[in-house]
């Protein structure tokens, strides 16, 4: 039994059912578009999540859990259980094999955005999305004591430009009752979007953090003059965490063990990649749910094909009897209906995939600029081909149901057309 004559019959039969076929195809197209969009969003989210930090071999903080340390040091979610001493930091920083370290001091915020006390090294060392360095959209790193650098989201949301003055508040909340308003900071630089928590951060020097807490941690800041402050030794006693880069990543495990068993203070070192993967296992559950919902929407689309074919079956008994009289085998009738279902699904899936990628292309500049999601990673690929093929195949399998009914009918009807 050759399929080609039946295939072209199936195609013409679909074309003749114009509006119904169009609506069915539209249903499938929309469902496939939703599914692919969710898939792309999953991929994008996962990629940008895993790309949050790179080029860092270890993150060291107070002992808690790896995920917790990752959350507060990189994602700025939650608070550190404890600080670590400057001495411990220095000891690790001077350990053999350590190429560089960047300290981080957290605890203050600006209008809901975390303030990160760090060094200029942060802007050189912090990398994301496969070793992409931070770039400045405007200005430069902080140099003087009360200079600040803001992330792209902070600048966009709050409308900041270089030269603007900002007040840092104590604590992490969006509304704080204690503001260090005696010591306003001047924005010297605005970072380019990265799609990472960096976008939502304000960076100042470690010394500045120390300075605004000199006269009581919860006060309005310090009234001392800038000259006086700059003459002082503002080296902090404690920091929250620090990033470590090694000469060779091979030494990471050994150093991690050394840090974790450090005798004078309960420290903890984590490898960002490992901790990110652990964290994703938690976050990923929601993502799986979303994908399942989208898959069910696709199933709904497929069922709509089934409905449209089943409802047409009775009025088409005549057609089947004609085909039988012309020598079509019951298998031909079966194939005709299966192919109609598959063709409807194929058309819908292709249109859905086309629309998804069309929308992605249109949205690419916004996605990259605002969220740092690279469209290149979402280009049409194997996933799309698999989804299109899968939907078509599933429709063919589901189409076997009306096809089987038509097959039975055509056997029972013979040439007698009973309507």
């Amino acid at each position: 039994m050759s399929a080609a004559p039946i295939l072209s019959l199936a195609w013409r039969s679909i074309l003749s059912r114009g509006v119904t076929a169009l609506l069915t195809v539209a249903t499938v197209a929309v469902s496939v578009m939703l599914f692919l969009s969710v898939e792309k969003a999953r991929h994008g989210a996962r990629a940008s999540f895993e790309n949050t930090i790179s080029g860092v071999d270890l993150i060291v903080g107070a002992r808690s859990s790896p995920v917790n340390l990752l959350l507060y040091s990189v994602f700025h979610i939650g608070d550190a259980t404890n600080n670590i001493t400057w001495d411990s930091y220095q000891e690790v920083a001077n350990a053999p094999g350590v190429a560089w370290t960047v300290p981080i001091s957290l605890g203050d915020s600006h209008r809901g955005y975390r303030v990160v006390g760090t060094t200029q090294g942060f802007f050189e060392r912090y990398q994301y999305a496969g070793r992409r360095p931070l770039r400045f959209n405007e200005g430069q790193p902080f140099e003087r004591l009360f200079d600040a650098v803001v992330g792209a989201t902070v600048a966009r949301q709050l409308g900041y430009q270089t030269g603007d003055e900002i007040i840092v508040a104590h604590g992490a909340g969006a509304v704080s009752f204690i503001e260090h308003d005696l010591n306003p900071f001047t924005i010297t630089g605005i970072l380019a979007p990265t799609g990472t928590p960096v976008d939502r951060s304000v960076f100042v020097s470690l010394e500045a953090i120390e300075a605004i807490h000199l006269d009581g941690a919860t006060g309005r800041g310090t009234a001392r003059s800038l000259e006086e402050l700059e003459a002082m030794d503002l080296r902090p006693d404690q920091i929250t965490a620090f990033l470590v880069g090694l000469d060779s990543p091979v030494g990471a495990l050994r150093l991690q063990r050394a840090v974790n068993t450090y005798p004078r203070e309960p420290l903890q070192a984590i490898m960002p990649g490992v901790a990110l993967a652990q964290l994703w296992q938690v976050v990923g559950a929601a993502e799986t749910t979303l994908a399942a919902v989208a898959a069910f929407v696709v199933l709904t689309g497929l069922i709509s094909i089934l409905i449209s074919i089943l409802t047409s079956l009775n009025e088409r008994r005549r057609e089947m009897a004609i085909l039988r009289a012309l020598g079509a085998r019951p298998g031909h009738i079966f194939a005709l209906l299966v192919m109609e279902a598959a063709l409807l699904a194929l058309a819908g899936a292709l249109i859905g995939a086309g629309l998804t990628h069309g929308a992605l292309q249109l949205g690419a500049p916004v996605l990259e600029a605002r969220y740092g999601i690279l469209i290149a990673g979402l280009a049409p690929g194997l996933t799309d081909a698999v989804v299109v093929a899968g939907v078509t195949l599933a429709a063919a399998v589901l189409g076997a149901f009306p096809a089987w009914r038509a097959y039975r009918q055509s056997l029972a009807d013979g040439m007698t057309i009973r309507v």
Binding site: P5, L9, E319, G327, R329, G414
Partner: protein
């Protein structure tokens, strides 16, 4: 026209030869068909008169090999259908038979031309002879302008025109036997006579035998021979549908 080597040449075997034929729709149900003997010679044009429920559509289904006899022999164009598998019977029908129904003979979503050459999709043998040229020729002979109707959708034609297209399709590829199930019941008296005349003419020209069933005994005068199904069929039970 190609014929498979095993088949007898037209004229040597009867077009239809039924013997002790019995058929029922349900396994244990009553016989719908019980015909001790019926024969139509090759090229013969036979009128079968049958009222609604006399089993005429069922009989045509048996001759076409779509229905499977309970017992007895169905020999068509020298081929014993009861000895063939269902698939072989379908193939036999595609290659050697032409069928015309009462109405709605055409797939409404195919153009006229595609409807006419449709049997070729299921029969390589029937496809061999330049189907489109033959289809156009048949249309012309049946009084339709191929130029005007070939690419028109079938549903755009009048009932009378559709029946003539159906006749062209039944005749295409020179089948040995045409089965016609009340093909004129939807036509008015004038077009009915014209249609039958054309059909007879074309059957004669291609040498095809014709089994024409109708409830309208007045049509019998056009044919070589007329039989009454009520007499032939001893079952005589009401059929589920006519």
């Amino acid at each position: 026209m190609t014929r498979s080597a095993a088949s007898p040449t037209p004229g040597s075997a009867p077009a239809v030869d039924l013997e002790a034929l019995r058929f029922a729709y349900e396994r244990k149900g009553p016989d719908v068909i019980d015909i001790p003997r019926f024969t139509a010679a090759a090229g013969e044009r036979v009128f079968l008169k049958g009222a609604s429920g006399s089993g005429k559509s069922t009989l045509l289904g048996l001759i076409a090999g779509i229905l499977d006899a309970r017992s007895g022999a169905v020999r068509v164009l020298g081929e014993d259908l009861s000895a063939l598998s269902a698939a072989r019977r379908d193939r036999f029908r595609a290659e050697r038979l032409g069928v015309i129904f009462q109405m709605f003979n055409l797939l409404p979503w195919l153009p006229v031309g595609a409807n006419i050459v449709l049997p070729g999709r299921f029969s390589p043998a029937r496809r061999a002879g330049g189907l489109e040229a033959e289809g156009r020729r048949l249309l012309t002979r049946l009084g339709l302008d191929p130029q005007a109707v070939w690419d028109r959708p079938a549903r755009a034609l009048s009932v009378g025109q559709q029946q003539r297209v159906a006749a062209a399709r039944a005749l295409i590829g020179r089948p040995g036997l045409i089965l016609a199930d009340e093909p004129t019941s939807a036509l008015d008296a004038d077009s009915r006579d014209a249609f039958i005349a054309l059909l007879m003419e074309e059957c004669a020209a291609s040498g095809a035998a014709l089994i024409f069933v109708s409830h309208d005994g007045a049509l019998a005068r056009h044919f070589d021979r007329a039989e009454d199904l009520a007499v032939l069929n001893r079952a005589g039970l009401a059929e589920a549908a006519s």
